[in-house]
C-alpha cells in the first residue's frame, strides 16, 4: 500500500492550506463544518436544557435570545448551507463529470478561506457579547434597538455569503464546461442536477442577502433610514429582501440532499431512478419556484390579502416537484433489489421525515392555518423535519456512502446501522412533540411557558439528548476508521458512476485519461442478479 493518491501526494499543514485539489478542499470543509456543527449543537443543548422546566431558571431571557440566535446562525450559515455542496459536491462533482478538478481551483480554495474568516468573525461576535436578534435579523429591532453585537455577526454572515457565491459559480461553470466526452446533460447523475439547481439559487439569491445585511449594518452605523419609519423607511422592506434570499436558501439546504438520496436509492435498489427526467427537472422547478414564495413568511406582517393569496398558491406549487421526487424514489424502490446498508437506512429515513416536513409546509402555506400556527413550535418542528430530518440525514447518508471513496477506509457497518437507528428515533422524539406544542399554542423563542406544556417539552429534551449522542457515534467511528477501518475497494457498493471507476482514494488528478461516457446514469441493467450486492 504505497500507491500515490490525493491524500499521500504531499504532507504537512502547508500542503493542505495551499492545496488547489478539490478533494482536499472538500476535506478542509468537512473539518470546518463539523466544528461549527458542534458549536451550533452546543447552543441547542443549552436551549433544550432550559426548556426542561416551565420557569426561566437556567438562563435569563436575554441569554436565551442569544442562544437561539446563535444556534440558528451557526447551523444555517455555517453548517447547512455549505454541508453537502461544499463537502460532497466539492469532492464528487469533478469525479462524476470525468474532470480533473473544478473549473476554478483557486476560487475553490478562496471560498474555503472566506468561509472560515466569516465563521471566525461570527464566533468572535458570539464570544464578545453575542447577538440576540434571531437568525432573521428583523428590523427595526436589529437596526435600531438591539444592544448586542449585530454588526459583527452581520458582517460574518455577509463574508460567508461570498464563499457560497463562489462555490455556486464554480459548480455552474464546471457542470457546463467540464463534462467528459459523451456525458450529455441527460446522462448526468441526479446529484449533479441537484447541485446545478442549488448553484443557481446560490448565485441569484446570496447577493440579495449580502446587500440586505450590508444595509442593516449601514443603518446601525450611519442611521440612513432605509428601515427606519422615523425617516420614512419601511422595516417590512427588510423582510421582503431577507426572505427573497432566505426562502430559496431553504432549497439550498434541501436540494443537494435530494441529489444524494437519488444516488443512494438507485444504488441500493439496483435500479435506474424512475422517471429520471422528471426528477432532474423537478430540481430546477424547485429552484425557480423557490424565488416566488417568500411572502409566505409574511402572511401576518400586514401584507395585503391578495399578495397573501398569490404567495399561498405559489407555495402550494412547490409541493408538486417535491412530490415528484418522493413518488419517483418510492417507484424506484418498487421491485428493486433492495439492500439495507447504512446509507440506505438514512435514505429511507430521509423519505419519511422529509415527507412529514414537506406536508406540514402545506399547513403553513394555508393562510388561515398559518395565522394559528405562525411563530409557534409548529414552525420550528416543520423546518427541523426538513433540515435535520431531511438535509442532515442525507448528509450523513452521503458521508457513509462516499466515505470509502474519500478516505479509502470502510466504517464499521453494524455500529453505523445502530447509530442510524438511534439518530432516527432521537430525531423523532425531539421534534414530533414540537408539532403538538405548536398546535397547542406554544410560541417559539420564549423560554418561559405554561406548565401544561412541560411533558411534551421534557420528551423533546430527552429526544435531543439521544439525538446528540447519536451524532457522536458516527463522529467517533469515522475517526476510528481512518486508522483501523478495513481498506475499501474501488467500488464497495457495486454502484454505477464515474466516481466508482477510480481508486479509493482517488489520485490527485482523478483520471489518468479522460473517460468517455457511453451509457445513461444508473445503468444497473434490467434484472439484478441475486447476490450481486456487496456484503461489507
Amino acid at each position: 500500500m504505497s500507491t500515490k493518491n490525493y491524500l499521500n501526494a504531499d504532507y504537512g499543514f502547508r500542503s493542505w492550506l495551499t492545496t488547489l485539489d478539490h478533494k482536499r478542499i472538500a476535506l478542509l470543509y468537512l473539518l470546518s463544518i463539523t466544528f461549527f456543527f458542534f458549536i451550533g449543537g452546543a447552543f441547542a443543548v443549552a436551549i433544550r436544557l432550559e426548556l426542561m422546566t416551565p420557569q426561566g431558571d437556567l438562563v435569563q431571557s436575554e441569554t436565551y435570545n442569544k442562544l437561539f440566535t446563535m444556534h440558528g446562525l451557526m447551523m444555517i450559515f455555517f453548517f447547512l448551507v455549505p454541508s453537502i455542496p461544499a463537502v460532497l459536491g466539492n469532492f464528487l462533482l469533478p469525479l462524476m463529470l470525468g474532470a480533473k478538478d473544478l473549473a476554478f481551483p483557486r476560487l475553490n480554495l478562496l471560498s474555503w478561506y472566506v468561509y472560515t474568516i466569516g465563521g471566525l468573525f461570527t464566533l468572535w461576535a458570539v464570544v464578545f457579547g453575542g447577538v440576540d436578534t434571531g437568525w432573521t435579523f428583523y428590523t427595526p429591532y436589529s437596526s435600531t434597538y438591539a444592544n448586542t453585537n449585530v454588526i459583527a455577526a452581520a458582517l460574518g454572515i455577509f463574508i460567508t455569503g461570498f464563499s457560497s457565491i463562489l462555490t455556486g459559480l464554480n459548480f455552474i461553470v464546471t457542470i457546463h464546461k467540464m463534462r467528459a466526452p459523451g456525458l450529455t446533460w441527460f446522462r448526468l447523475p441526479l446529484f449533479v442536477w441537484a447541485h446545478y439547481a442549488t448553484s443557481l439559487i446560490m448565485v441569484l439569491g446570496t447577493p440579495v442577502l449580502a446587500i440586505t445585511i450590508l444595509l442593516v449594518a449601514v443603518e446601525r452605523l450611519f442611521r440612513v433610514g432605509i428601515f427606519d419609519p422615523a425617516l420614512g423607511g419601511d422595516p417590512l422592506l427588510f423582510q421582503h429582501l431577507f426572505w427573497f434570499y432566505s426562502h430559496p436558501a431553504v432549497y439550498i439546504m434541501i436540494l443537494p440532499g435530494m441529489g444524494v438520496i437519488s444516488e443512494l436509492i438507485a444504488c441500493f435498489s439496483r435500479k435506474r431512478v424512475f422517471g429520471y427526467g422528471f426528477v432532474a427537472y423537478s430540481s430546477l422547478a424547485i429552484a425557480v419556484l423557490g424565488f416566488f414564495v417568500w411572502g409566505h413568511h409574511m402572511f401576518v406582517s400586514s401584507q395585503s390579502m391578495y399578495a397573501g393569496l398569490v404567495f399561498s398558491i405559489l407555495s402550494f406549487l412547490v409541493a408538486i416537484p417535491s412530490a415528484v421526487k418522493i413518488f419517483n424514489w418510492t417507484a424506484t424502490l418498487y421491485k428493486g433489489s433492495i439492500s439495507f446498508q447504512t446509507p440506505m437506512l438514512y435514505a429511507l429515513g430521509f423519505i419519511g421525515l422529509f415527507t412529514i416536513g414537506g406536508l406540514t409546509g402545506l399547513f403553513l402555506a394555508t393562510l388561515a392555518v398559518d395565522v394559528h400556527v405562525h411563530d409557534t413550535y409548529f414552525v420550528v418542528a416543520h423546518f427541523h423535519y426538513v433540515m435535520v430530518g431531511g438535509m442532515l440525514m442525507a448528509y450523513l447518508g452521503g458521508l457513509h456512502f462516499w466515505w470509502p471513496k474519500m478516505t479509502g477506509r470502510m466504517y464499521p457497518e453494524g455500529l453505523a446501522k445502530f447509530a442510524a437507528v438511534v439518530i432516527f428515533l432521537g430525531f423523532n422524539l425531539t421534534f414530533f412533540p414540537q408539532f403538538l406544542l405548536g398546535y397547542l399554542g406554544m410560541p417559539r423563542r420564549y423560554h418561559v411557558y405554561p406548565e401544561e406544556f412541560q411533558v411534551l417539552n421534557v420528551m423533546s429534551s430527552a429526544g435531543a439528548s439521544i439525538l446528540g449522542l447519536g451524532y457522536l457515534i458516527p463522529m467517533s467511528y469515522f475517526a476510528w476508521s481512518l486508522r483501523w477501518g478495513k481498506r475499501a475497494e474501488k467500488n464497495p457498493w457495486g454502484a454505477k458512476g464515474l466516481e466508482w471507476e477510480v481508486p479509493s482514494p482517488p489520485t490527485t488528478f482523478n483520471f489518468d485519461t479522460t473517460p468517455t461516457v457511453t451509457e445513461e446514469a444508473y445503468d444497473y441493467g434490467p434484472k439484478p442478479e441475486p447476490g450481486e450486492v456487496a456484503h461489507v
Partner: protein
C-alpha cells in the same frame, strides 16, 4: 498542487483544462455568472430606491436638486470614454500588441481616477452642506425628513459603485504588469477580456445611477 507535477502541458493552460477553448469559455461563463450576482446585489438597492421614490416623489425631487448635473454629466462622459479605451485594450490583446494593451489600460486607469476625483469633489460639497445622513444631517429646504433617505441611497449606491471601480482599477494594475511580462497572446488573453467585461459592467451601473439620482423628477411639474 503545483503545475510542476504535470510538466507536459502548454504554458498558460491550467492542468485541468483540455485546451484554450475550454479554458476561455469557462472563464467567460464564470465572469457572466459573477456579473449576474452583481446585478442581484445592486438590484436590492435599486428596488429600495424605486420603492421610496414612488412613496416620496417630492422629497426625492427636492433632494435630487442638490446634485450637480454638470459634474454628473461630465463623469458620465469620462466613464463612457474609459469603456472605449478598455475596449481598445481588449482589441490590442486580440491582435497581440502588448504595448498597446498597456497604453490603453493606463489610459482607462487615468479616466477612472478622473471619475473618482470628480466624485470626491461632489462628496466634499455634500459634506460641507451637511447632507451626509446621520446625526449631523441638516436640511432647511422642502421635502421633509425623507430627503435624508434619498441621500442614504445616494451614498450607498455611488459608494458601492466607487468601490467596484477601485477593485477594477486594482485589477488593471495586475493586468498591466502581466501584459508587460508578455503574458497575453492572441490565443490566450482571457484576463484582459474579463477585465473588460467587468469594467463595462461598472460603467453600465453608472449609466443607470446617473439618470436615477441626478435627472429623474428634476424638471417634473
Amino acid at each position: 498542487m503545483s503545475d510542476a507535477l504535470h510538466g507536459d502541458h502548454t504554458p498558460g493552460l491550467a492542468h485541468h483544462f483540455e485546451d484554450f477553448e475550454q479554458q476561455n469559455e469557462s472563464a467567460s461563463l464564470g465572469m457572466w455568472a459573477f456579473l449576474v450576482t452583481e446585478v442581484m446585489f445592486f438590484g436590492g438597492l435599486f428596488l429600495g430606491y424605486a420603492l421610496y421614490r414612488t412613496d416620496y416623489p417630492e422629497a426625492f425631487a427636492a433632494a435630487s436638486h442638490e446634485l450637480s448635473v454638470a459634474w454628473g454629466a461630465f463623469n458620465t462622459v469620462v466613464l463612457i470614454g474609459s469603456s472605449l479605451t478598455m475596449a481598445l485594450a481588449v482589441r490590442a490583446a486580440q491582435l497581440g500588441q502588448p504595448k498597446s494593451i498597456v497604453r490603453y489600460i493606463v489610459l482607462t486607469l487615468l479616466l477612472g481616477i478622473g471619475f473618482l476625483g470628480v466624485k470626491s469633489i461632489e462628496y466634499a460639497a455634500k459634506f460641507e452642506h451637511h447632507l451626509i445622513p446621520g446625526p449631523h444631517f441638516l436640511w432647511g429646504g422642502e421635502g421633509g425628513p425623507q430627503v435624508e433617505l434619498f441621500f442614504g441611497f445616494y451614498f450607498c449606491m455611488t459608494g458601492l459603485h466607487a468601490l467596484h471601480m477601485l477593485i477594477g482599477m486594482a485589477l488593471m494594475g495586475v493586468v498591466v504588469v502581466r501584459a508587460r511580462r508578455g503574458a497575453y497572446t492572441p490565443t490566450n488573453h482571457i484576463g484582459v477580456e474579463m477585465l473588460g467585461l467587468y469594467w463595462h459592467f461598472v460603467d453600465l451601473v453608472w449609466i443607470f445611477l446617473f439618470p436615477m439620482l441626478y435627472l429623474i423628477g428634476r424638471h417634473a411639474g
